[in-house]
C-alpha cells in the first residue's frame, strides 16, 4: 500500500506541472491549470494522511538500483518513517492551502497558469526531498527546490527588485550547497555509498568509525550543515530570505512554511545520527545566533512582510538550535507548528496586501499584479522603498474592516509568541527551550546555558515584534484614511485557508506530535558525546493541567555508552530534566508575557514612544535598522572583492593574454606571413605561370595542324592506315 500512495503523492504534482510544460511546448494553456494543480495537491494530501497508518515501527527503505559506475552503485528510493510522514502532511497541507489561497490572490495575473505550475513543481521537489532515502535523492530535490524558489521569487521578473532577489536567493543558497556537496563527497569517499539507511547505509557504517575519525566526521557534518545554513537562511547566509519577499505573497508563505527553508531543518534532522558533539555545538550556536540576530532586526522593520521574513529566520534558528542541542524531535515539532502559523501569517499579510492592492488596481484602472509595486511610493525607508501596501505605517484599525483576517492572524501571533497552553507554538517552543536547558544541565557545559539565554531573549523579542505587527496593522486609528477606506475583506478562497491554518495552530490538531509512540528516536552510537542527551517524546513529565503529554527528556541513553557512563549519570540526567522543563516553561511564559506587555505599552497604549527609545539607543537602533550591516558587508567586501578580482583578471586578460595574442599575431603577419607570401608569389606562382606559358606557346604552334578542312583529316587518316599496313607487311 505504501508504494502506490507514495507514487500518487509524488506524481500528482509532477503531472500537474508536466501537463503545463508539455502544453506549453504546443503554445497552449490548460484551461484551468489552477484547479488542476490544486486537485493534484489535495490528492497528495489525502494520500499523505492515509500513510499515517501505514508506517510501521521498523521502517525499511524501498529502493531500486539507479545506476552503477564501476563497482559503485547509486540507488534511488524512499524511506518512510513517522518523521517523513509528518513532513509529507505538513508540506502537502500547507501547499494545498497556498494553492487555494492563490486562486484568489493571483487572480488576473497575466502568468496565472504558470504560477500554479511552478507551485506544483515546487511541492513535488520538496516531497521528493522528504521521501528520499539517500543523499543523492535529497540533493536532487534540494537543488530542484532551489530552482523553483528562483522561478517563483522572480515571478514578477519585470521588476528589477524581484529579478535581483531571485538571483540573490539562488546564488546565496548555492554558497551553502557547495559545502553540502563537499560534505556528501566526504561521506561518499569514506563509505562508498550515499544511501542513509539499510545494512550498508551511512547510518550503519558510521557506527564502525574509530574514535580517531570523529574529528573528520565533525567536519563532514558541519559541511553538510552549510547546505542547511544557505537553504534555511541561517546567519551568515540569511540575507536572501527577506529579499525573497519580492515574490508573490503565497510563494512567501510556501517558502517560509513548507518547502524551501524547511528543507534545511529537515536535512539536519535527517543527518542527526552522524552529528558529533562538535558539529552539534556549531549547529546550536549558529541557530542561537540566528534566532537572536533576526529577532532584533525584525523589531525595527516597517514592511509587514519583512517583519515576518525576519521572524522566520529567527524561528529557523530556534529549530537549528534545538537539533544542535540534541532535541531532534523538538526541532521538527517546531518546524511543523511553525509551518502552520507562519503560513497563516503570510497568507494573512497577503490578504491585507490584497485588500490594499485592490485599491491600487482600482485607482490605476489596471489589474496586472505586477503593478503592485508602483513608483509613487508613499514612504521611503532609508533609501530602500517599501511598497505602500506593505508598509505598516499605512495600516492601522483594520480589525473591523477585515475581521476574519484579523482573528486568524491574531491566533497565529499568539501561537508564535508562545502564549501558554492553548496554542501549539507554545508547546513546540517550550520543547526547544526545555531541551536546551536539559542539555545544559546534563552536560554541565556553559555553552548550552549561553544558548538557552539567547533562545529565551529571542523568545521575548519575538513576542514583542509580533504584537507590534498586530497593533500597528489592526488596532488604533487608520493612519492612511484613503487606503483604509478602500480596504475590504478578501474573498472566501483566501479566507478559508486562513481559517484552516488557524485551526491547525491549536495543539489538538497536531496530535501526532503528542503521541509519544509515533516518533522514533534516532539511534545513539559511541561517536556521539557521552554527554549528549537525546530528547525524546516522553510523557513522564506530562503536564497535569493541560492533560496533554509534553516533550520530556528521557534517560541520557547512557546505557549505550560502554565507558564511564552508567546508570548514575542517567538518573542524574533524568533528575535534571524534570526541573529543566518546568524552569524553561515558567521562564518562557515570563518573557513572552513581558514582550507582549511592552509591545502593548509601546504600540497600543502609547505609554512610551518607540522613537524616543530609538533615539536613546541610537547605536543599537542603527545596528538593527541596517540589519547588522550584513548586506553592506557583502556588498563592500565580497562583491567588491569579486569586482576587484574580476578587474584584475580583466587587466591580466587585456595586457598579458591579449599582449601574447597580439605579439603572436604581429610575428605571424610580419615575419612568417611575409616569407610564405614571398614563396607563394615567386616559387609557387612562378611554377604555375611557367607551366601555363609553356602550354600556351605550345598550343599556339600545335593548333596549326587543325586546318578545319575535313579532307585534310581524311587524308591523314588514310595515310596513317596505309602506313600501318605497310609497317605490318614489312616487318
Amino acid at each position: 500500500m505504501i508504494v502506490p500512495l507514495i507514487s500518487i503523492i509524488l506524481l500528482a504534482p509532477l503531472a500537474a506541472f508536466a501537463i503545463f510544460a508539455l502544453l506549453g511546448l504546443a503554445k497552449r494553456n490548460f484551461p484551468r491549470q489552477d484547479y488542476l494543480s490544486t486537485v493534484a495537491m489535495l490528492a497528495a494530501l489525502g494520500c499523505s494522511l492515509l500513510l499515517i497508518q501505514e508506517v510501521v515501527s521498523d521502517p525499511k527503505p524501498i529502493t531500486v538500483e539507479w545506476l552503477s559506475l564501476g563497482s559503485v552503485t547509486f540507488s534511488m528510493g524512499f524511506y518512510l518513517d513517522s518523521v517523513t510522514v509528518i513532513m509529507l502532511i505538513v508540506v502537502t497541507l500547507v501547499s494545498s492551502l497556498v494553492h487555494i489561497f492563490s486562486i484568489g490572490y493571483m487572480h488576473g495575473d497575466p502568468r496565472y497558469s504558470r504560477f500554479f505550475a511552478f507551485l506544483s513543481l515546487f511541492s513535488f521537489s520538496m516531497l521528493f526531498l522528504v521521501v528520499s532515502d539517500n543523499l543523492l535523492g535529497i540533493y536532487i530535490g534540494w537543488e530542484l527546490v532551489g530552482l523553483c524558489s528562483y522561478l517563483l521569487i522572480g515571478f514578477w521578473f519585470e521588476k528589477d527588485s524581484a529579478a535581483n532577489a531571485c538571483k540573490k536567493a539562488f546564488l546565496t543558497t548555492r554558497v551553502g550547497d557547495i559545502g553540502m556537496f563537499i560534505g556528501m563527497m566526504m561521506l561518499f569517499a569514506e563509505f562508498g555509498t550515499l544511501s542513509l539507511y539499510g545494512d550498508s547505509g551511512i547510518f550503519e557504517e558510521v557506527t564502525t568509525l574509530e574514535s580517531g575519525q570523529i574529528a573528520w566526521l565533525s567536519v563532514a557534518g558541519i559541511l553538510i550543515f552549510c547546505g542547511a545554513v544557505g537553504k534555511s537562511a541561517q546567519v551568515p547566509l540569511h540575507t536572501w530570505l527577506p529579499d525573497a519577499m519580492e515574490g508573490p505573497t503565497p510563494v512567501s508563505a510556501l517558502i517560509h512554511a513548507a518547502t524551501m527553508v524547511a528543507a534545511g531543518v529537515y536535512l539536519v534532522a535527517r543527518m542527526f545520527p552522524i552529528l558529533t558533539p562538535t558539529s552539534s555545538l556549531v549547529i546550536a550556536y549558529v541557530g542561537g545566533i540566528t534566532a537572536l540576530v533576526a529577532a532584533t532586526i525584525a523589531i525595527v522593520r516597517f514592511d509587514i512582510k519583512r517583519v515576518l521574513a525576519y521572524s522566520t529566520v529567527s524561528q529557523l534558528g530556534y529549530m537549528m538550535l534545538a537539533i544542535g542541542a540534541g532535541s531532534y524531535v523538538a526541532g521538527l515539532f517546531h518546524l511543523t507548528t511553525h509551518a502552520f502559523f507562519k503560513a497563516l501569517l503570510f497568507l494573512g499579510s497577503g490578504s491585507v496586501i490584497h485588500a490594499f492592492h485592490a485599491m491600487h488596481a482600482h485607482h490605476d484602472d489596471e489589474h496586472a499584479e505586477s503593478d503592485e509595486h508602483d513608483d509613487h511610493s508613499l514612504v521611503h525607508e532609508h533609501g530602500s522603498e517599501i511598497p505602500p501596501d506593505q508598509d505598516m505605517r499605512n495600516m492601522g484599525g483594520l480589525r473591523k474592516k477585515m475581521p476574519l483576517t484579523f482573528i486568524t492572524m491574531l491566533i497565529a501571533t499568539l501561537s508564535i509568541s508562545g502564549v501558554p497552553f492553548v496554542f501549539s507554538g507554545f508547546w513546540s517552543k517550550d520543547a526547544i527551550l526545555g531541551g536546551v536547558l536539559g542539555q545544559a544541565m546534563a552536560s554541565n557545559s556553559p555553552h548550552y546555558y549561553i544558548l538557552f539565554g539567547m533562545a529565551l531573549i529571542a523568545a521575548g523579542i519575538t513576542a514583542f515584534y509580533m504584537f507590534r505587527l498586530i497593533f500597528m496593522t489592526f488596532f488604533g486609528e487608520p493612519r492612511n484614511q484613503e487606503m483604509h477606506d478602500m480596504a475590504h475583506e478578501s474573498p472566501w478562497v483566501m479566507t478559508v485557508p486562513l481559517i484552516v491554518l488557524a485551526a491547525l495552530s491549536f495543539p489538538a490538531v497536531n496530535i501526532l506530535w503528542f503521541n509519544e509512540n509515533y516518533i522514533e528516536p534516532p539511534p545513539q552510537h559511541h561517536i556521539h558525546s557521552p554527554q549528549r542527551v537525546y530528547v525524546s517524546p516522553d510523557s513522564k513529565t506530562a503536564d497535569a493541567n493541560s492533560g496533554i503529554s509534553l516533550f520530556g527528556i528521557s534517560e541520557a541513553e547512557a546505557a549505550e555508552d560502554e565507558s564511564g557512563h552508567d546508570a548514575e549519570h542517567a538518573s542524574d540526567g533524568h533528575h535534571g530534566h524534570g526541573p529543566a522543563h518546568t524552569i524553561a516553561m515558567v521562564l518562557s511564559i515570563c518573557v513572552a508575557g513581558l514582550g507582549i506587555l511592552l509591545s502593548w505599552l509601546f504600540y497600543h497604549k502609547r505609554r512610551f514612544s518607540a522613537e524616543a527609545v530609538a533615539t536613546t539607543f541610537r547605536p543599537a537602533y542603527n545596528l538593527f535598522w541596517n540589519k547588522y550591516y550584513f548586506d553592506e558587508f557583502y556588498d563592500g567586501v565580497l562583491v567588491a572583492l569579486t569586482v576587484w578580482k574580476s578587474r584584475l583578471f580583466a587587466g591580466f586578460d587585456l595586457s598579458v593574454v591579449d599582449g601574447i595574442v597580439n605579439g603572436v599575431g604581429t610575428v605571424t603577419r610580419d615575419v612568417l606571413a611575409a616569407f610564405i607570401g614571398f614563396f607563394d608569389n615567386r616559387v609557387v606562382d612562378g611554377l604555375v605561370n611557367r607551366v601555363a606559358a609553356v602550354t600556351w606557346s605550345a598550343g599556339g604552334r600545335i593548333r596549326r595542324i587543325q586546318t578545319g578542312a575535313i579532307q585534310t583529316y581524311l587524308f591523314v587518316v588514310i595515310g596513317g592506315i596505309v602506313l600501318i599496313i605497310l609497317i605490318f607487311r614489312l616487318f
Binding site: R703, Q706, T707, G708, A709, Q711, L714
Partner: protein, 110 residues
C-alpha cells in the same frame, strides 16, 4: 570467274572511292565516293562467301551458306540510311554557310 577477279574489281572500286572522297570539292561527290567504298565492301562479302566458305555436307547433297550475302544486304540498307543522314547534314551546312564545299566549312580551324 575466280575469286581474284572479284577482288580486283572490288579494289578498283575502293580506290576510286577513296580518291573521290579525298579530292572532290563537292560534298555530294564525297558522298558518292563513300557509296563506292561501301559497295566495294559488299562485293567482297559476297565474293568471299561464295568462294571461301566451305560448303557443309549434309547427307547426300552439298548446302551453301549465305552469311556474306545477308551481310551485303545489311550493308546496302546501311548505305541508304547513311545517305539520308549525310544529305540532311549537307542541307544543314548549306543553310548555315551558303555552300557545300568542304574546304569552305572550316570553323574548327585551329
Amino acid at each position: 570467274m575466280s575469286l581474284q577477279h572479284y577482288l580486283v574489281i572490288s579494289s578498283i572500286l575502293f580506290s576510286l572511292g577513296i580518291f573521290a572522297v579525298l579530292t572532290r570539292k563537292n560534298a555530294i561527290s564525297i558522298l558518292m565516293g563513300i557509296e563506292l567504298i561501301l559497295n566495294s565492301c559488299n562485293l567482297n562479302f559476297v565474293a568471299f562467301s561464295r568462294f571461301v566458305t566451305p560448303a557443309e555436307s549434309i547427307v547426300g547433297s552439298e548446302v551453301f551458306r549465305f552469311d556474306g550475302q545477308i551481310i551485303a544486304i545489311f550493308g546496302i540498307v546501311l548505305a541508304a540510311a547513311e545517305a539520308a543522314v549525310f544529305l540532311a547534314i549537307i542541307l544543314a551546312i548549306y543553310r548555315e554557310f551558303g555552300s557545300i564545299r568542304p574546304d569552305e566549312v572550316d570553323t574548327l580551324k585551329g
